[in-house]
Symmetry: C2
Subunit: 453 residues, 2 copies
C-alpha cells in the first residue's frame, strides 16, 4: 500500500533556513532583543491570525491587496498579519486597563505579504519591531533610533544610515502648492516609489498621466485619476524633496537629541523625499540603510502614527514604531561582509568521540562534564563503533558541521594515572596532520576554554 | 469622514501575551534554547505555510481535520503548519546534499490547529521542538530526554515525569491478540484517549460499539466500524496497558542509559498505555507531565518516526523528536507555583527620572552610563516636567511596571563635588517612605548592582 512520494517543495516566496544561516539570524535577533531590553522594552506576543476587520483597517490600498485572507471553517473572515503595528494597536486598545503608559514593547516574528516574489522579496519574512505608545515627539523617536543603532553596532554594522523626515513638512509643502489635504496620503504613497521608479514615472503618476495599462485594475486607475494633482504641484513637490532646509524646523528637537545619543555624522541624513508607503503615519518617518548595500533596499523603517489607536479605542493615544527586516538585513550584512555566510550546522564547540560502543558511558560522562561547565558538547550518537575504527568518520562529521575541537577517550589513556584523553584541534586538520595532545581529564575543561579563546 | 470604530477583538482560540507574561515565556524559551545548544542542537527555520500536499501526508485523520487550509490568490492549496515534524521531514529531504547526518536541530514557534477552543486548548500555540535525524535507537532518545530534562530543571521544574513506551511493544500485543497489523495505527489513535475519556468509552470505540451520534460525521463513524476489533482483543489490549513488565525488553537500552544521564527515579515511568495520537510514530514514544498539574495534560511529548522521511525522500532516514508545549508548560508552572504570574511590564532594572525638562540631557547621560554597564535602564520620556513636580507620577509609573530602583538627578545634587544623585529603592515604597540615599555619580553603577543582587 505504498503511496506516491511527495515532492519536498516549498511554496513560492517561502524559504527554509538551515542551521548554518538560522544560527546567524538567531544571533542577530538576540542582539537586538538585548539592546531593546537595555532600554526597558519588553516582549509582546500577538497572534499570526487576526480578523479581517482588524487587518484591513488603516493600511492603505497597496497594503490591503497583499494580505493573505481566507475564511476559516466557521466562515469567519481571517487573515495573516501584514505587520505588527496593527496588532499592537488592537492589543493596546483591548487592554488599556491592564497596561501602563508609556507602553514600550518589542515583537519579533514572521509577517506575510502576498507580493510578487523576486530576489530579496519574500512572501514570509521576519520583522524585529519596536514601538512606544502614549508619548508625544521626540523622545520616543530618539530612543527607538538609538536602540536600533545600538543593535546594529553590536552586530558590527557601523555602516548604517538613518534617513529621517516628517510627513507634516511634506503636508505643508502640499498645502502651499494648493493640494487638498485629503489627497496627501495618496500622494505620499506615490512619492514613496521615487527611489525605485525614478522621477519621471512618479511625476506621471502624480499628475494622472499614466495609462490604464500601467495599473493592475481599472478601479485602481480611476482612483489615481481622482488623486491627480496639477503639473505645477507635482513639480513643486519633487523640487521640495531635494532640499532639506525646510525640514529643519520639524526635526530640530530630534536632531539635537539623537546626536547626544551618539547617532549623527555618517549615520544620519535628513531626507525630505522619504514618505514610507503605509497610510497610518502622521509625522516622523525614517528608514535605515546599510551603506554599500543600498541597492538591496532599506533594512528597516518606521514612523509616528498618532491616529491609528483611535481606530480601535475611544481613548486617543499617540504611537511611534520602527521595524528592522531581518531578511533584508542579513542580505545587506552578507553583501558588505559584516557577517560570514556559513555559521556551521552544529552549535557545539567540542565533539566527544566514541572509541568503542563498550566505552559509551565514559564518553557520555566527558560530554556531561563539558556541558556542566557551560561548554557546548556533541557526542557521537551512532552505534557500531569498534576499537577506534570509526574515529576518522567521526572526525570528518565533526569538522563538516563546524565543531572546532574533538576529544578521544581511548581505553589506554583513561587507564593512566591521572586518567587522560586526547584533545584534537580540528581546525588544523581532521586527519593525521591535525594537532593533538594528551590532556588529563581534570584539566580538560580549562584546556578546552583556552583553545577556544 | 470618520469611520466606525473597530472592536479590538481576537479570534476565538487566539491570545495576546502582554509583556508581564511574554517576558516569562521568553525566559523559558531562552533556557530551553541554551540547554539544547549545549548538546549541539542548532536552530532551523521553516515557513508557517506549506503546500497542502506536504501537510496532509502522514498525520492521521484526526490531525488532518484540524489543519487551517485555504487556497491562496493563485489557487494554490496551502495550509498553516500543524506541527514542526512534517516540515522538518520535508526540509531534510530537500536538502540532503547540504546537511550532514546526524542532523540535530531545534525549532521554536507557533503552530495552528483548528480545534474546539476550551480552557488550556488554543488554536495557536507555541512548540519548542527538538529532533535528531539519521541515527538508530536509543542514543538519540536518551539525548533528547536529557536535554529537555536539563531545560526543565534549569527553569526550576524538578517536578517533571517522563512517561515512556514503545509502539513496537503494543504492536506485539495486538499481534498476539490476532489484530491485523494495518489496524494498529487506528487502534493507537483510540487508545490515546484513555486518560481523557476513560476505559469504558475507549473499549466501546475499539469494539465499534459507539453510536453514530458520538461521531462528528457519518464517514468517521463508518471508518471506525471498519477498524473495530473483537471484544476479546480490546480486553486483552486494555489489560496489557496496565502491566509494564513486557515493555522492559523494548526499553532496556534506553532505561539504562537515561539513568546515567541523571533522569530516573521520580522523573521516569514506563507506561504501556501511552500511544500518542499521531500516525507517524514507529517505536519509542514519550510524554512529560508536571507532577501536581497532570490534569492540565502533558506539557510535552514525542517519539520515533522511522518511516516519515521516506514520504519525501528516496533515501530512507530514521528520526526521533520531542516537543514541549510552551502554553501548557506555562499553565503547569503557574499551577505548581514554579513561576510567578506577573513578571512586570518593563525589562528595566533602573528608572531614570527627569527632574525638569531643561535637565533631560543629564538624565539621558545617566541612562546611557547604566546601559553601557549592562544595566537595563528606562528613562522618563514624557515632557512637561518642571522642578520635580512630576516626580511622584514618574515613581508611580516605574513601580507599576515593575522597575525596582529609581534615580533622581536634581540640580543641587549634580552641582555637588563630587556630582551626586538620589537612588531610591522602589521596592520599599515609591512615596516618602521609600528608602533613598545620595550616591556619587561615579559610584552609581556599583551601588545599583549591589542593590539588585
Amino acid at each position: 500500500m505504498a503511496r506516491d512520494r511527495i515532492k519536498p517543495r516549498n511554496l513560492r516566496g517561502f524559504r527554509d533556513f538551515l542551521p548554518s544561516s538560522a544560527q546567524a539570524r538567531q544571533r542577530i535577533v538576540d542582539i537586538f532583543r538585548k539592546a531593546f531590553e537595555l532600554y526597558g522594552f519588553a516582549p509582546l506576543e500577538t497572534p499570526a491570525l487576526e480578523t479581517e476587520e482588524v487587518l484591513l483597517s488603516d493600511m492603505g490600498v497597496d497594503a490591503n491587496k497583499q494580505i493573505y485572507r481566507f475564511s476559516d471553517l466557521e466562515n469567519t473572515k481571517v487573515g495573516l498579519r501584514f505587520d505588527f503595528t496593527v496588532s499592537l494597536a488592537r492589543t493596546v486598545a483591548a487592554n488599556l486597563n491592564r497596561i501602563s503608559l508609556p507602553f514600550k514593547r518589542y515583537q519579533v516574528g514572521p509577517v506575510w505579504r502576498y507580493d510578487k516574489p523576486k530576489r530579496g522579496r519574500y512572501r514570509e519574512f521576519t520583522q524585529i519591531d519596536l514601538d512606544i505608545i502614549g508619548v508625544a515627539p521626540f523622545e520616543p523617536e530618539v530612543e527607538m533610533v538609538a536602540a536600533v543603532a545600538r543593535g546594529l553596532r553590536e552586530i558590527g554594522a557601523d555602516n548604517f544610515v538613518f534617513r529621517v523626515n516628517d510627513r507634516r513638512y511634506l503636508g505643508e509643502v502640499l498645502e502651499s502648492l494648493g493640494v487638498e489635504p485629503e489627497k496627501a496620503k495618496d500622494v505620499f504613497r506615490v512619492l514613496d516609489k521615487l527611489q525605485k521608479q525614478g522621477e519621471k514615472k512618479v511625476r506621471d503618476e502624480l499628475t494622472g498621466k499614466l495609462l490604464l495599462q500601467d495599473f493592475e485594475s481599472a478601479l485602481e486607475y480611476e482612483r489615481m485619476q481622482e488623486v491627480a494633482v496639477s503639473e505645477q504641484a507635482a513639480d513643486g513637490l519633487l523640487t521640495a524633496t531635494k532640499d532639506a532646509s525646510g525640514l529643519a524646523k520639524y526635526l530640530a528637537g530630534f536632531l539635537k537629541r539623537i546626536e547626544q545619543e551618539g547617532v549623527g555624522g555618517d549615520n544620519l541624513v535628513a531626507d525630505p523625499s522619504l514618505t514610507r508607503g503605509l497610510d497610518y503615519y502622521t509625522g516622523f518617518v525614517c528608514e535605515v540603510d546599510i551603506r554599500g548595500a543600498e541597492a538591496l533596499g532599506s533594512v528597516g523603517g518606521g514612523g509616528r502614527y498618532d491616529d491609528l489607536l483611535g481606530r480601535y479605542s475611544a481613548t486617543p493615544l499617540t504611537g511611534v514604531g520602527m521595524s528592522v527586516g531581518l531578511d533584508r538585513l542579513m542580505d545587506a550584512l552578507l553583501a558588505t561582509e559584516v557577517i560570514a555566510a556559513d555559521a556551521g550546522q552544529s552549535t557545539a564547540r567540542v565533539f566527544v568521540t566514541v572509541f568503542d560502543d563498550s566505552m559509551r558511558a565514559e564518553s557520555a560522562s566527558i560530554a556531561r562534564m563539558l556541558r556542566q561547565a557551560g561548554v557546548a558538547a556533541e557526542m557521537w550518537l551512532a552505534e557500531g563503533n569498534k576499537t577506534g575504527r570509526t574515529l576518522s568518520r567521526q572526525f570528518k562529521y565533526a569538522d563538516k558541521v563546524g565543531i572546532p575541537l574533538a576529544v578521544v577517550a581511548g581505553e589506554d589513556e583513561l587507564a593512566k594515572d591521572p586518567p587522560s584523553v586526547q584533545l584534537k584541534d580540528l581546525r588544523t586538520g581532521f586527519g593525521e596532520e591535525g594537532k593533538q595532545s594528551e590532556v588529563p581529564l581534570g584539566e580538560l575543561v580549562a584546556r578546552v576554554k583556552e583553545l577556544l579563546d
